[in-house]
């Protein structure tokens, strides 16, 4: 009972952490481009403003998809804080991603349609990597349970360094950071306007944005699992991942989907993951 309450509290606090991290992201990005950048709380201002806009939706599926995406992200995070099953978490996360595609594909806007096709490409690229990382967890701990990770005495980073790099790939793709930001982007003036989020507006866009924050917290949480033995290690690992993510976002140009799916994801991401898994199997 206590763990359920704890996990619920975590899910409720997660948007605060996610919004703050996203504020740090925007400010760091601005500094990397030698600008001042917005205030740290800017993402929260944006969200409150969006909730205050008049609701406007092309059809009911759009609204439904926004709610399901947020619910799936919240539920995946709940499973994570409960120390639950990694496979279940993976499937719930996929439901959220699929409904984002459904929301984008149910409207006639060509920007949204192309965004949806590209979002499917992103899923093809990051889901195999994510599942291989979870297989790595299972080979180290003997089960898919997150709680079992905390029974180990040594940090997982020592056993699966390459899988951590592969997770970094999946992280970049899942968060739609450059060079993989072709289905939607937080930067203005990209060729698809906002891709999958083009047709959302006002409160529904705010729901999608909060879902995105929850995803950010979840994925950084997964990174933290690689150094579960010390709190300082966790914080260091999360901070390093986030900073690298922002740096890469700012110094790379957008790739085409062929590059991402065939060369980057399959060769580099999956290659790293498979080599690490083989090593775990032999050792």
């Amino acid at each position: 009972m206590l763990s359920i309450l704890g996990a619920l509290g975590g899910v409720i606090l997660a948007p605060l952490a996610g919004g703050l991290l996203s504020g740090v992201d925007r400010r760091l990005t601005a500094r990397l481009q030698s600008r001042m950048g917005p205030p740290l709380l800017q993402p929260f201002f944006d969200i409150f403003k969006l909730f205050g806009k008049a609701p406007q939706a092309t059809n009911a599926w759009l609204v439904f998809s926004a709610y399901i995406y947020l619910l799936a992200s919240a539920f995946a995070l709940f499973i994570f804080f409960m120390g639950g099953d990694l496979l279940l978490l993976f499937f719930v996360l996929t439901i959220g991603a699929v409904f984002q595609v459904v929301g984008a594909i149910c409207v006639p806007s060509p920007f949204s349609q192309i965004g949806a096709q590209r979002e499917l490409m992103l899923m093809v690229a990051y889901e195999p990597i994510l599942i291989l990382v979870f297989v790595g967890f299972a080979m180290c701990t003997g089960s898919f349970s997150i709680a079992d990770v905390f029974k180990l005495n040594t940090p997982l980073l020592l056993k699966m360094p390459l899988l951590f790099l592969a997770l970094g790939y999946a992280l970049t793709i899942k968060l739609r950071k450059s060079p993989f930001d072709f289905s939607a982007s937080h930067h203005g003036h990209q060729e698809l306007v906002r891709g999958v989020q083009t047709e959302y507006s006002g409160p529904f866009l705010a729901l999608i944005e909060i879902g995105h924050w929850l995803d950010l917290v979840l994925i950084l949480g997964l990174c933290a699992l690689f150094w579960h033995t010390s709190v300082i290690g966790m914080v260091l690992l999360v901070a390093a991942s986030l900073f690298t993510e922002i740096l890469i976002d700012n110094i790379t140009a957008r790739l085409t989907w062929q590059w991402m799916v065939q060369k980057q994801s399959l060769l580099v991401g999956m290659g790293l993951a498979l080599v690490n898994l083989l090593w775990l199997y032999v050792a």
Partner: protein, 169 residues
């Protein structure tokens, strides 16, 4: 609910997302609008984001000469923006038709098609003037929420009698 409503009112003034529509300008005003986003002026300090999507935007920046073809596009973009919203008309051509005023194919300014909150004169106006225009548009938004007086949107003398587009046909 008091806290949420207060936050919403406060946030509206702190996060003006912008959509920029060019009604066929010479690009002088457009370059100045985009200059506001560069590190030199960096309007993201005030939460301004150039969204390029009317459905996400709060403030519409219009430049260029409005004519009988693009006035429908302008109206459509305005109608796609969810309330509350503000319109800033930028540059001589967009205020009154500029050097093309009273040409057979030109409407004398965006205010003949959509309700405009702020006029920024100039050919082209400086980026500072455009930033000031957006800030004044925020005051107009605040006035619509009942916070403070509305800024006086002043047309150039002689432009008040420009006929509305609907009357021109």
């Amino acid at each position: 609910m008091g806290f949420v409503e207060n936050m919403i009112k406060k946030s509206r003034l702190k996060s003006p997302w912008i959509v920029h529509f060019d009604c066929g300008s010479c690009n002088g005003c457009d370059i100045e609008v985009l200059a506001c986003l560069t590190p030199m002026y960096d309007v993201e300090r005030f939460g301004v984001v150039n969204t390029g999507n009317p459905k996400h935007a709060d403030v519409l920046l219009v430049t260029g000469t409005v004519n009988h073809r693009n006035r429908h596009v302008l109206k459509q973009i305005y109608e796609q923006m969810p309330e509350p919203k503000a319109v800033v008309s930028i540059g001589a051509c967009n205020l009154s038709g500029g050097v093309f005023k009273d040409s057979y194919n030109i409407l004398n300014g965006a205010h003949t098609v959509i309700p405009v909150d702020v006029f920024v004169p100039g050919c082209p106006p400086k980026p500072e003037a455009i930033i000031d225009g957006v800030v004044t548009a925020l005051n107009a938004l605040a006035a619509k929420m009942g916070l403070g007086p509305a800024p006086g949107a002043a047309l150039m003398p002689g432009d008040e009698d420009a006929p509305k587009a609907a009357a021109v046909g």
